[in-house]
């Protein structure tokens, strides 16, 4: 490069984004406050039994949330993910008696394929993800209900293939839940060290710039939905193991908590901002919220209201208004 005299440009002063920092610390603060409230009400909360219960109820939510996170990072949403997990439990219950562990793999392959198809349709036909996955939601909930006869299917033969998920313990804590936390950490690290680790973020923040730099947004978007399908399947396996059954609506009630976990952790619904550790914190908040509400004596029937309000509030806090033009 020639060293011709370069004229000066306006000086740049690092602007500290106070609001951004506050929002990024907020989830952790909320979690700490929740833990403090609960322990003050129930001193035995720190005991091993309640931590175990907490982790067990968090694991499927965290799995669903991690899958959804990839999609939300790209600026989209997958509304069909919980239904896909339910559908997965039905498939598992039907397949596991004959296929055993192979049935688990087949089910995971199926849910992954569902995600792949979602991503393919959205990326190739260039349609809004919420509406495409709303259609998928109907499709797979209908299929799940139809093939299960709208009833819960007990898993007895072949349960060994998934039984370890609930049975194995490490230091009295469920191994499976710990593994899910490890998965979250691995994802977080991968996003840092992989050369393409920031690709999901880049789509969410600047899809056109990425495209015009030769990035394959189609492939990355399909990958996000495919991962969402895979993680939905994993959540399904976990639920089926803990319930010892498959059911066409088994995971449906986790849709809202899982989306809430993603956004409350600080991943913006507009895409591009967030990560796996944030999602982990979000999932912890969601389960703590449930425990916390009952600890302070709130009727469990208020739970849905809290989820609804929390999800809207979290979206309001994390949304980046400068980057959305016409909001539909």
């Amino acid at each position: 490069m020639t060293q011709t005299l370069l004229t000066s440009s306006p000086r740049v002063i690092e602007q500290i984004d106070w609001k951004g920092r506050a929002v990024s610390i907020l989830p952790l603060a909320v979690l700490v406050v929740l833990v403090l409230i609960v322990t003050s009400q129930q001193p035995n909360f720190v005991g091993i039994a309640s931590v175990r219960g907490l982790l067990e109820s968090m694991a499927p939510i965290l799995l669903l949330a991690l899958g959804q996170m990839f999609v939300i990072l790209t600026g989209g949403i997958d509304l069909s993910f919980a239904v896909t997990a339910s559908f997965g439990t039905v498939l598992l219950a039907l397949w596991i008696p004959e296929l055993g562990a192979l049935g688990v793999l087949a089910m995971l392959a199926t849910t992954t394929l569902i995600g792949l198809i979602n991503g393919f349709v959205i990326a190739k036909a260039q349609i809004p993800s919420f509406i495409a996955t709303l259609g998928a939601l109907g499709l797979y909930s209908g299929l799940g209900l139809a093939i299960s006869g709208a009833s819960t299917i007990r898993i007895s033969t072949g349960y060994e293939a998934i039984g370890w998920i609930t049975d194995l313990r490490v230091a009295q804590l469920p191994l499976s839940a710990l593994l899910v936390i490890v998965v979250a950490i691995v994802i977080s690290v991968a996003m840092r060290v992989l050369a393409s680790g920031k690709s999901f973020h880049a789509i969410g923040l600047a899809e056109k710039a990425l495209l015009m730099s030769g990035g394959s947004t189609v492939r990355i978007r399909i990958l996000a939905f495919t991962l969402c399908g895979l993680f939905s399947g994993l959540a399904g396996v976990m639920l089926a193991a803990s319930q010892r059954s498959g059911g066409p609506t088994l995971a449906d009630s986790l849709q809202l908590p899982a989306i809430a976990a993603v956004v409350i952790g600080g991943t913006a619904i507009t895409g591009g901002v967030g990560g796996a550790i944030k999602t982990l914190i979000g999932a912890l908040i969601i389960v703590m919220l449930r425990v916390g509400l009952s600890a302070v004596g709130v009727d469990p029937s208020f739970e849905q209201i809290v989820y609804g309000v929390v999800i809207i509030a979290a979206v309001v806090l994390t949304i980046d208004r400068s980057r959305i033009g016409v909001v539909k």
Binding site: T4, L6, T7, M212, G214, S216
Partner: protein, 506 residues
């Protein structure tokens, strides 16, 4: 003589320190058609946006019939009797002609939120009658042709008459760009008719048309109103000179650094490239280290051409040879892999990845130089990013700074670094690389362009001004209406004059 119906006095407007309009004054008299001409970036669109209430001027004033007026919204501008016919059509296709004509100004056709269709259609018919258009007010806009839609726009613009006791001023922004042949004649007939009932500002880059319909012509250049001419005595040559004439400084453009490319290998060979409704049968070569400038007005097809080269649009026929091998891209992914780079005019949307750090932006196109397999070598990446920051003198507090916080010039340098960082880069397409940059940043960009040439990279340049095109290019292609009109050799010392180019452009 009474005061002019519209008078603009000493209007100045700048964006982030870049002056778009500098002390511009002009006036429109009763029943007069005033032509307004200027190159892209001369300030026409800024001036129109101020007149329609979208922008506020930094200083200066607007007088209507001698009285000072200020408007902050489109509605207030309309209330002052200024009607706009926009370049991009501004009709809602999902509703009827009548609803469009009276959109947001239904008046007594809507009482208490309830529509009276009879009144609405009658009011719309009244506007359509003014221009003698046979289009039915109840027709759906989606069923109209482009030319018919323009007539509706005209009728809509004339609607501002209802707000004022006075005759309206109608501003036509490049109204002829989508029309051809007989449709154009209809437009001219309309302008003649308008002259009876209104005053008209006609903005166009087709000089012959401006000369034909206008009573007086103002020429804008670099945000300054440089001249006023009478069409009866002026000819297109003179207007051309006024539009582009400028003391060009060879030093400013680093002309001394331009090296001859005679005998260099052909890097990119474009042969018979066509895309429907954009350009046809375009052929040219780019040699190693050569800058090929493409000149042309809006609608010449040069923007579409570069996007086709980069794979962002498809083409219908023709071949592209890169280093002797035929390439065809279904998206920019393939183009970048093959060695193309693109610096887009829309820097904020297509150039930088907003809200990401300087370092992340540098490695957006190619991270292989700093990775091993799928893994990013974190330390090496930092080191390379810092190298680029110092080599290109990017003014940033650190490599981790959010790119949004950098000035336009420094953002552009990051975009440059993004492509320079890629070892596979062979051809770089520069689409208005200095748009919106201050003088210093422009000079930096020119320096980098010369340096790129020294490395044997071929450059396709769509420059902001004609001087820039002429000074930076080794050879120049002039496009008009989608076809190559003429080629110029632009070796140092044998550069063509801007006027020579303009003659071919319009």
């Amino acid at each position: 003589m009474s005061a002019p119906v519209l008078q603009v006095k000493n209007l100045t407007k700048s964006f982030k320190g870049v002056v778009a309009l500098n002390d511009v004054s002009f006036e429109v008299r009763r029943h007069e058609v005033v032509g307004l001409i200027g190159e892209n970036g001369a300030g026409k669109s800024t001036l129109l946006k101020i007149l329609s209430g979208i922008y506020q001027p930094d200083s200066g004033e607007i007088l209507r019939n001698g009285k000072k007026i200020v408007f902050r919204t489109v509605k207030e501008s309309a209330a002052a009797g200024i009607g706009m016919v926009h370049q991009e059509q501004s009709l809602v296709t999902s509703v009827t002609v009548a609803e469009n004509i009276l959109l947001g100004a239904e008046g007594d056709a809507v009482v208490g939120g309830i529509y009276n269709w009879k009144v609405l259609n009658r009011k719309a018919q009244k506007q359509l009658d003014k221009i003698g258009s046979p289009i039915s007010p109840t027709a759906g806009v989606e069923d109209l042709t482009f030319a018919q839609r323009q007539m509706v726009e005209l009728a809509k613009a004339l609607g501002v008459e209802e707000y004022t006791a006075d005759e309206p001023v109608i501003v036509l922004d490049e109204p002829s760009s989508v029309l051809e042949g007989d449709e154009l004649e209809v437009l001219f007939a309309q302008i003649d008719r308008l002259r009876q009932i209104a005053s008209v500002v006609f903005v166009s880059h087709r000089l012959d048309e401006v000369l034909r319909v206008s009573d007086r012509v103002y020429i804008l250049k670099d945000g300054v109103c440089v001249a006023e001419r009478n069409p009866e005595t002026a000819d297109t040559d003179e207007l051309h000179r006024l539009m582009v004439g400028r003391e060009s400084s060879a030093e400013f453009y680093r002309e001394g650094d331009q090296k001859s490319v005679v005998g260099a290998d052909v890097l990119l060979k474009v042969d018979g490239l066509s895309r429907q409704k954009a350009f046809s049968d375009v052929s040219f070569d780019v040699r190693k280290g050569e800058v090929v400038g493409i000149a042309g007005v809006l609608g010449s097809g040069r923007e579409e051409l570069t996007r086709v080269l980069f794979g962002a649009e498809g083409c219908d026929s023709g071949t592209i040879l890169l280093d002797g091998t035929s390439v065809r891209f279904s998206s920019p992914v393939g183009a970048v892999a093959a060695g193309f780079g693109y610096i887009p005019a829309e820097r904020r949307i297509e150039g930088i990845a907003q809200s990401m750090s300087v370092q992340e932006n540098i490695f957006l196109a190619d991270s292989r130089p700093v990775s091993v397999g799928p893994f990013m070598m974190v330390n090496k990446a930092r080191q390379v990013a810092d190298e680029w920051i110092s080599r290109l003198r990017i003014r940033t507090p650190s490599r981790n700074t959010n790119i949004n916080n950098l000035s336009g010039g420094n953002q552009q340098k990051v975009v440059l670094a993004k492509w320079l960082n890629s070892p596979r880069l062979k051809v770089l397409i520069l689409d208005h690389p200095t748009r919106g940059l201050d003088v210093g940043a422009k000079e930096d960009v020119y320096t980098f362009i010369r340096a790129l040439c020294d490395q044997g990279i071929g450059i396709v340049l769509l420059a902001d001004t004609l001087e820039e095109t002429i000074a930076l290019s080794h050879s120049i292609i002039v496009m008009r209406d989608g076809e190559i009109q003429r080629r110029f050799d632009a070796a140092p010392g044998q550069k063509p004059l801007p006027v020579d180019l303009v003659e071919q452009m319009v």
